[in-house]
Amino acid sequence: MMPSSSSSDVAPDPVASRMDVARDILERMSDAFVAIDADGRFTYVNAAAAQIMRQDRDALVGQNVWERFPEALHTIAYQEFQHALRAHVPFVFEAPYPPLHIWVAVRAYPSPTGISIFFQDITARKAAEAETRQLAEAAHQRAEQIEAVFSAISDGIAIYNPAGNVIKTNAAFEQMLGAASPLYYEADSLAERAVLFQVCDVAGQPLPAEQTPAMRALRGETIGSAAACDIQIAFPDGGNRVVNVAANAVRDASGRITHAIAIYRDISERRATEAAFRNLADAMPQLVWTARPDGTLDYCNQRWCDYTGMPLEALLRCDWASLIHPDDLAHTLAAWDAAKQAGKPLEVECRYRRAADGTFRWHLNRAVPIHDAHGHILKWYGSSTDIEDQKRTEVALLEANQQKDDFLRVASHELRTPITTLKLTVQGITRQIQLSYDDPALSPPMHALLARFKGRLERCDLSLDRLNMLVGELLEVSRIDAGRLALHCEPCDLCAIMQGVLQDVRDLWPGRELTLHLPKTPVWVLADADRIGHVLLHLLTNALKYAPTEAPIAVRLTRRAGEARVAVRDHGPGLNRAQQAQVWERFARIDGIEPLQGSGIGLGLGLYLSRTIIQRHGGHTGITSAPGQGSTFWFALPLKSLL
């Protein structure tokens, strides 16, 4: 450290004394100070300078600046220094000094012997300045972002000062006001603005200025999402927009209202859509309605009003259960409650009272819920279609079918009863004859007479069987035509059915060779056993009638591919392809094919009925045949699953 004063025992030298004072000042000041001679050597370095330069100042004095700090040769300091020496002018600059990672502010003054330089470490100040600049930049960016959102948002936004004047609006707001927009800013008062357009309520009644949403917000009222209000802006040219407004006051730290912000959403399109929906709904023949999520009606079309004889307001308020027929009330309400609970479409029929004549008419009610993105029901859309005529037709059809059933039942009974009586009588007389026939006291002519009677009665009995079969076929065809062929299906073993039929046929056609091939285990099908028996009986009777008596007939039941197949193989004349297709037709007649046994060729209904019955069972029929090769008639039924 440099001594701050000379020795005290010597008389003070005025020059030395001034030097001491100057030195003392230089040492105490916070600025750094160095003196450099014309050759660039340090002649003086104060304490502050040594500290900034992080050097021992005694070591520095006498040293050349540019040799000691060669890195400074390329800085502004060197150029300024050289210039100041030559031109004898002071210089000032601020610059970073990278070797020490600091910023310095430099002021230099030429002196007779060189240059006096004051400098300060301004690193902290520079950092503060940079930070301020960054903050300002960030603030600017945020403002830009807000401005961009403000401009881009599709809702109109306006900011009002406490007097109610607009101080800022966005593009959407301006677009909403259209031609009136540029003038809007210039209008100083509410009165002036009123010339540009009029703010009305939704019904079109002008709102007093203090009742506009912006003014209400400026009085501290919150016009928020739930309490948002709809207004109409009416322009002098007759145009208008329907706008949904939310508005809020902006307060300063002390709670004083400084601004109001109002957000305007143009819902004119939505209103137009709603109006279009109403027009459409009114044009429909149905009763159309909408309901809130809880099921309370919020709209009914004109037809509803006409039907119930109530104006819309009354209809929406009334208990609509009172419109429903008391007998239909419970199930209708239950269906509606269930639909609301599940959020699922409603479909229920009920009768509504028509005001015009007090009659109840059947309606089919349908309603679908509209959900939001979260699955909550927003609204129900419903329609009620008058199905009274349809219902009447249904009832009439039911009655007509009942009549058909009744007729067929009566016809069946009335036709079979005399056949039964005849059959019993014929068989009874035959038995009586048989008893007398065996009487040894009978004279031979009488015996011969009884034998003749007996033979003719037996033919009568066979004719009655034939008559009964024909009646049966006619009744079955009538049932099919009336759409009343009802099958009585139950699980049954096809083997048992076939054995029963074969037994009957063997009794009726003694002497014919019939073979039956059955699987070893029962073959279960879901079938009307009587009718399947008739089908097999018919196939067998055909084979017996058309095949030579000496030729055997084989009946075979096989299981394959989920089906039970019953085939009747004969050695009759066989059929060509065209004939094969023809035999299944109703009233079929095949030229050149005549029965060899039995009486008559029947009505041509047997195979038609057989095929229809098999098809009704979900099965199918077929023929394998060729002329001269005999025929195999078969039918297949789906096997009943054992599960």
């Binding site: 009974h413 079979r416 059959k423 019993l424 038995r431």
Partner: protein, 127 residues
């Protein structure tokens, strides 16, 4: 001698059945309609009752419904042409009560077989 009651609205059928059954050794009582049968059957216990399904006023199955306990004391066979004459409900009830059907038209052999089967069943049940 075992007794058979014939309930049928058709006089010819009743007459035929009487002849056949009497020849086979039964005594026969006749009823032309269900209500008359109701009265008759409260007083007698025949071996077999032949009941026609299709009768004016009351069908055979309606008669059985109207007289709910009668099947426990009397043995019935139902005379009918086809399944068609029975509603699914009637047919289910018939099956539940173990009442056999004799299909019209029937042969004498079929009829006698059915009656004998019922007669034996009754005898077996109430020795």
């Amino acid at each position: 001698m075992p007794n058979v009651v014939v309930i049928d609205d058709d006089e010819d059928i009743r007459e035929s059945l009487r002849c056949i059954l009497e020849d086979a050794g039964y005594t026969v009582d006749e009823c032309a309609n269900a209500p008359a049968a109701g009265t008759l059957l409260t007083h007698m216990l025949p071996a077999v009752v032949l009941l026609d399904q299709i009768m004016p006023g009351m069908t055979g199955m309606q008669f059985l419904r109207a007289t709910p306990q009668i099947h426990t004391t009397h043995r019935f066979a139902l005379l009918t042409a086809l399944h068609m004459d029975l509603s699914p409900e009637d047919d289910a009830l018939r099956t539940a009560l173990h009442i056999p059907v004799i299909r019209k038209p029937f042969s004498i052999d079929t009829l006698l077989r059915s009656v004998q089967t019922l007669d034996r069943a009754l005898a077996g049940e109430h020795p």
